[in-house]
Structure formats: structure tokens, C-alpha cells
């Protein structure tokens, strides 16, 4: 089974943030209490030679900054009711895409599903597979969870 360390997961996420939204982020020590306090979560499943799930957890303040950077506007002008869920789902989609490319390489045969908003009920059991990033003062958590049973997500 493939392995993706939290450090590598953090590197992929840092690159995704830089390229997508010009946001700088640094890995920091995971604080489970901060994770539990995240406002929103989204997950995307992948299938192929192996299957699994990538889940992002973060705060509304981070998402306000992400949406503002994507749109080139001031964070104060971002309406989270309109853009919060969309922003976390799209970032989850992009990080998920980076993960399957990392797992599959140039000959990738993995397929990504559609990102979905997610409850945070199962986070506690996945701490060893979670990385934490400080992104311009806001925390972003990313969990990679390989599944034991292969799943096809082919369209």
C-alpha cells in the first residue's frame, strides 16, 4: 500500500496554496484542540489501484482569506455564506488532485470524485495521517486516509 507522510502531504498543500491563491503556508505542530475547533470540513474520495480520501478542515477566517486571494479582493468583502463552502471544496479538490498525482505519478490511473462538505466526526482517529499548516495566521488541517478496500470512481 502506498504511503504519504504528513510532511509530504504538507508540502503538496503548500504548493497548491502558492500556485492557486498566492498564499504562503508553513507546517506547524498539530494541535488536536485547534483541529476540533475548525469551522468547516470538506472531503474528496479517490479510486484506482488503491482508494482513499483527502479531507481538509479549517476556519472561516482562513476561507475568507483564500476566497479573497482567489478573487483579488479584500477579505472583508467576502461573503462566506456565498463562498465559504465553495472555497473549501475547491481547495480540497485541488489538494486531492495533487495527492493522486503523487500516488500515481506520470502513469496515474487514479480517479478523483467530487468534493463534498464533510462532518468532522472521524478526525480524532486520523491524527497520525494529518498535517497542520499555518497559513498567514490561520490554521489548515489536511488528512489523508487510505482505504483498505479498492473503490472505483470511474465516471
Amino acid at each position: 500500500m502506498s504511503n504519504l507522510t504528513p510532511d509530504r502531504l504538507a508540502e503538496l498543500t503548500v504548493k497548491a496554496l502558492e500556485r492557486t491563491a498566492f498564499m504562503m503556508a508553513d507546517p506547524v505542530t498539530l494541535d488536536p484542540d485547534a483541529l476540533a475547533a475548525a469551522d468547516r470540513s470538506a472531503a474528496v474520495r479517490y479510486g484506482g489501484p488503491e482508494s482513499g480520501c483527502v479531507t481538509l478542515h479549517t476556519t472561516d477566517d482562513f476561507l475568507r482569506g483564500l476566497a479573497a486571494n482567489l478573487l483579488g479582493v479584500e477579505p472583508e468583502s467576502i461573503d462566506l455564506a456565498s463562498y465559504g463552502d465553495d472555497a473549501i471544496k475547491e481547495l480540497t479538490n485541488i489538494v486531492g488532485g495533487s495527492v493522486i498525482l503523487e500516488l500515481g505519478g506520470r502513469e496515474c490511473t487514479y480517479t478523483l470524485g467530487l468534493p463534498q462538505l464533510s462532518p468532522r466526526s472521524s478526525v480524532a482517529s486520523q491524527l497520525s495521517r494529518t498535517c497542520c499548516l499555518d497559513c498567514e495566521g490561520h490554521l489548515l488541517f489536511v488528512t489523508w486516509e487510505p482505504a483498505t478496500v479498492p473503490v472505483s470512481l470511474a465516471a
Binding site: 497548491a16 482567489l70 488532485g97 496515474c108 487514479y110 467530487l114
Partner: protein
Amino acid sequence: MNCNVLIVDDSPILRMAIRKVVRLSGIEDDRIHEAGNGREALDVLETVWIDLVLLDLNMPVMDGEQFAQELRRRPDLKDVAVVIVSTEANKDRLQRLRDLGIVDSLHKPFEPEDLCKLISKVLGVKQ
């Protein structure tokens, strides 16, 4: 640049972000069109002449591959230039799309400059 571009992505925020980059490529804002899935994109194509489609793949209702297949079936639309802008990494799926005549692809996350260059290249070739 007197070209019409259609952005097809189910994420409104990403459509807006891509629109910004397309404007940087020299396309006027009123020549940039948007659709949230393949079905909506076909509706746009039936009413507006489009020179370039920037196409996400993983979308609800009608995904990008289904859209591309439908496009190639229609004599009036089969020559529209399509560039994939997606997280898609599956080599078999990307090959199927190349077989349908997709001109290029850009993997998310991408840098805005990469998309600008791709737009200029594709529309430059067309002009």
C-alpha cells in the same frame, strides 16, 4: 483580442478566478462566458460563438468528458478548441480526451502565467 472564451467549472469561485486570468490574457470581460457543467456549456455554445472552452472534468450533471464527446458529435461545434483545466491525472482518461481532439491540458494547481500562455498559444494558432 476579439475572441470568446467559455469557462466551464462547477466551482463559482474558481470560475471567477479563471475569468481574472483570462482577462489578463487580453480577452475583454464581455467576451468571457461561464457555465457550471457540461449541459450548461452546451446551452451557451448554442447561443454564442465560442473560440476556446476552458473545461473542468469532474462536474455534476454532465462532466467534462461527456461534454467533449457531445461536442465532437455535433457538426456545428466539433471544431471548437477545448483545453482541460482540471485536477484530472488519470492517464487513460486524458488519452481518451486527446483522442477526441482536446488541444491541451493544464493540471490544477496551476500558475496564472501558465494559463495565460496556453490561452495565447491556442488562440494565436486559431487566428
